[in-house]
Symmetry: C2
Subunit: 269 residues, 2 copies
């Protein structure tokens, strides 16, 4: 089945002339999933003409501002678009506490329901399931409780010889941001078709990288290599590095099948 | 004295491929003032290289999301930039109530102070004064309590003949958004050098314009004409009108010295 991810923001906390905060839309099995929603994500969606009719679920990795400050604008704009389908938000429980007063003040007349699902980022668990897709949290190591998301695809197949039905399951896409280098995630990610792993820094910032609990491009590539991923997408670039090729070159030394996240880019997964 | 305004967002509530929510930086007498702060304003600042070293004051016209959702990101980013100067925010008292929990959660380690000044948008009052500039609220007519801001410039002059000192006061810049057509503001604005007046719609949307308590480009021009403004800037364009020239043409039929707000554009005032 076709699948693709569109990058809405590939920067880290500090916006730059080329990078906005985190956000991406995953399209898989005729559904859309928004992963993280930094400031400007809904604006990028409108600029890029991203269709939101089938966007029912939003997954928020953690509550640093560059991953969630865009939610209130997104929710508000969906209301102005007369959305009727509920919007499901999967995030740490604190997000609902923070957003509710804003929703009551700014979005009192919403035409649709916003449903929060509290997740525990510290624990691996299936948090979403439909007929063809399930989503599992991937506990990450960052300054605040953070998890990635692993998207499984399930298809019912029939054995040509026995005629029996069975389910074929693919680890289709994993989103791991923000996190420091953490080999413990390798087992869970093993064999994933496409891995998005943050690469905030490059080798020369290794000390800062540890201090802020982020990863270098090389470390992202090491995870992809150990997990035998089919493809690696790197993003969440620091404002300290202007030239994205430096991230790419460093990662490709370890894992050739690496591509750069870039705003507006759609990557086949 | 030189003065200029840089447009960071010129759209109305619904972002489009070309317009982001409201925000502009006014530079006057070696100071910068941010007026309104919709989502993406801090990102536009970074993209355009707007200098924020002398930005001490933010004026928020009203609490619709497209005029204030960008504040939390701005405050957070200023913290990452290790700002030390306090940031003064002039807005309806509800803004502080809404923002405080976010500041405590996301910006607990700010390197500078955020100081809220509650204003009453329904009443004309001087809310800011320094050696050369004062700012007065301009009560507007909109769905929620809203005010514009009138920037006066004061310069100490010496009479060439008598040698006496006096103050020369100029109505330098007025920002009026969002508002329906309201002749009552004309007297206060009389003789202003540059007027920014919202022009959400054009003639053909007059019914919708009244219903949403906005103005057409023609109405903005009528206010500029009656106030004998030196120049009119129109913005806050509806997503319903793709071609900005339609706003410009309509306004210029009434008031020739009209210019379009466009994102990234700096206009001499």
């Amino acid at each position: 089945m076709e699948g693709k991810v569109t990058i809405l923001g590939c920067g880290s906390a500090m916006p730059t002339w080329q990078n906005s905060p985190s956000g991406q839309v995953l399209e898989l099995c005729d559904k859309s999933f928004l992963i993280d929603c930094g400031e400007g994500v809904q604006i990028a969606m409108r600029r890029l003409g991203v269709r939101t009719a089938h966007l029912y679920s939003v997954f928020i990795s953690h509550l640093h501002g560059d991953h969630c400050f865009g939610l209130i604008g997104l929710i508000s704009t969906f209301g102005m678009m007369h959305r009727t389908q509920p919007l499901h938000i999967y995030a740490h429980a604190d997000l609902e506490k923070l957003l509710r007063p804003w929703l009551e003040y700014h979005c009192a007349d919403l035409t649709y329901e916003v449903i929060f699902h509290a997740i525990n980022p510290r624990k691996k668990a299936v948090i979403y399931e439909d007929r063809t897709i399930s989503v599992e949290t991937v506990p990450l190591k960052h300054k605040v409780p953070t998890c990635g998301f692993l998207f499984y695809e399930h298809h019912r197949r029939q054995d040509a010889q026995t005629g029996e039905f069975f389910y074929e399951t693919t680890k289709r896409y994993a989103y791991c941001s923000d996190t420091m280098y953490n080999e413990r995630m390798v087992e869970q990610l093993e064999g994933v078709k496409t891995l998005y792993h943050e690469a905030t820094y490059i080798d020369e910032h290794l000390t800062r990288c540890k201090g802020t609990m982020h990863s270098t491009a090389r470390q992202a590539a090491m995870i992809a290599s150990r997990a035998q991923a089919g493809q690696l997408i790197i993003g969440h670039f620091s404002a300290r590095v202007d030239d994205h090729e430096l991230f790419l070159n460093e990662a490709q030394e370890v894992f050739a099948a690496t591509v750069l996240a870039e705003e507006g880019k759609t990557i086949s997964i």
